[in-house]
Amino acid sequence: MLIQPSINILVVENDITILQRCRELLLDEGHKVRTAECIEEALDIVQKQPGDVDIMLLSLELPGWAHMTLIETLQKARREILIMTMSANCGEEAIEAMQAGAYDCIQKTFMADRFRIKINRAIEAFRLRRQLDLLTRQRQAEFTRVRQDANLYAILQSFSDALVVTDWQTNIVLFNPAAAGLFDLTEETALGHPVSVFIKSDELLSFFIRAIKSDSSLAMLMADEEPVVKVGNKNLRVHVFSVKNEGGTVIGAVALFHDVTKVSAMDKLRDDFLSMVSHELKAPLSSLLMQISVILDGLAGDLSPKQTDLLGKAKEKTKGMITLVNDILDYRRIQEGKSIQKIESLDLAKILQRTVELMRLSAEEKGIKMTCEVAEGLPSFNGDRGGLEVIFINLISNAIKYTQQGGHVSVSLNKAGKDIRFKVVDTGIGIPPEDIDRVFEKFYRIKTDETRSISGSGLGLSIVKGIVEAHNSTIFMESPPGQGTTFIVSLPVEE
């Protein structure tokens, strides 16, 4: 069993009889006891030998002193001392004393048992409080060590990102000049003070609290989200991590603020640039496509078989470039999480039938039979119209692209349990087993003799996957050797 050090108790009481009674009772319990008959004497002891007093037993009936002021003063100067009050009836004045910081009040009737219970509880509280202080000091000491490590400190100081470290009670223990400038921190005003005084954003504060309360995995999760917070006129990307000591105990949180104000401006510039490029690329490509098509159709004079062959290839290449431009733009949007632009109630059957009509032309040109089956009375689906169109177009055009002349592409839309199921089955060249895991990767294209002549960006399926996931949906595919490929998208219908 742990041997607890004995407790030093200072009894402050002007009634000598009571003072003696207290002293006897406490000595019987094995405590060290000192006495004072007036406040001045008590203050003298506390100030000269601060470590010698753990608990003060203070009479509320001493003449000439405002007790509350005394208790408050003592609490501020000697927080480690636990104050118990004594009074004749433990009335209003006892409550006020407790509000000022006293732990409890003992009635001066001195029934031995009651007195002992109250004193023991005070001692318990005192020990807990001391342990807590010790723990806090220990944890703060670990940060102090960082401050004292000159090299480490210099590194932190020269960080261009703002850095703020708090202890486990979110008091600031460390910050660098970048943070000082950002949040108006100085050594005198900030160190040891709650971070909430300087960082006014509730959102930011919640990151600190979550980092301290959570385990590391959650803290990592937060870093993944990379929230951007506006402070003043700056956009800051925030990372908050919990700080652990060697034993794995969370001793605080560290926050990094990376100024992305300029990046945000760059994002806008890039968007404008891409829109411009998009237009400048697509306008000539559309002329090219139209010109080649009308020549191929014989509208500009008769063609020799060789000319038809070469122009046909030129047309395919042009279409490939158009798809590439569209894919790059789609991909950018999905990366930016904009694949869902607006959720609305959609009639998928109608959208699919329209898409199939659009694609039918290119299937027929290639000599592929396309069928479309849509179940009656499908429920409406909440999703983004543009996104769903892209899913349909990309999967169907892939099926057409990888199916040879005389092949068959069948498209269907059905209810399967709570989901609407979109299915594309082709009789095409299929996907080699070793490539199946990688088809959803961006820029991944299967390289075989059969695919060499087929153009594509390798983005189509990764775009589809992005949109499917943004709709909380799943995509599944199978491609048994020599039996074509099947893609199934399950779109959950909300109740």
Partner: protein, 127 residues
């Protein structure tokens, strides 16, 4: 013979598209910017207008707004044509601009020749 007015600042595109629509039996009139286009609508009274969006002088949206505000001209079906980012066009345009301009159809460039012919036929048969 139905008359189609094509307004686009891309001369090459106009030339090729005229060949295509000629072959389908339409009389094709060309204009190369918004203002000229508007003038030709009034002078030629076409059965259908294909309007590019990004054009000098007056853009396609504005031309469309003017057409649809005119009691006599608003019956002429209008197809808007644009090379602006496809998905952006579909979602943003059709809801915001489409309501304002009341275009009858829109096509994102680059357009498949067969698709363009089909849209033109559809609109003219509806009329």
């Amino acid at each position: 013979m139905k008359k189609v007015l094509l307004v686009d600042d891309d001369v090459d595109f106009c030339e090729a598209t005229k060949l295509l629509l000629d072959s389908k039996g339409y009389e094709v009139v060309l204009a190369y910017d918004g203002k000229e286009g508007l003038g030709k609508v009034r002078a030629e009274k076409p059965d259908l207008v294909i309007l590019d969006v990004m054009m000098p002088e007056m853009n396609g949206y504005d031309v469309c707004v003017v057409l649809k505000a005119d009691a006599e001209l608003k019956k002429i079906p209008v197809i808007l044509l644009t090379a602006v980012d496809q998905a952006f066009f579909k979602t943003t345009y059709t809801r915001a601009m489409g309501l304002m301009t009341e275009a009858d159809d829109y096509i994102a460039k680059p357009v498949e020749p067969g698709e363009l012919v089909k849209r033109v036929e559809d609109l003219l048969s509806k009329k």
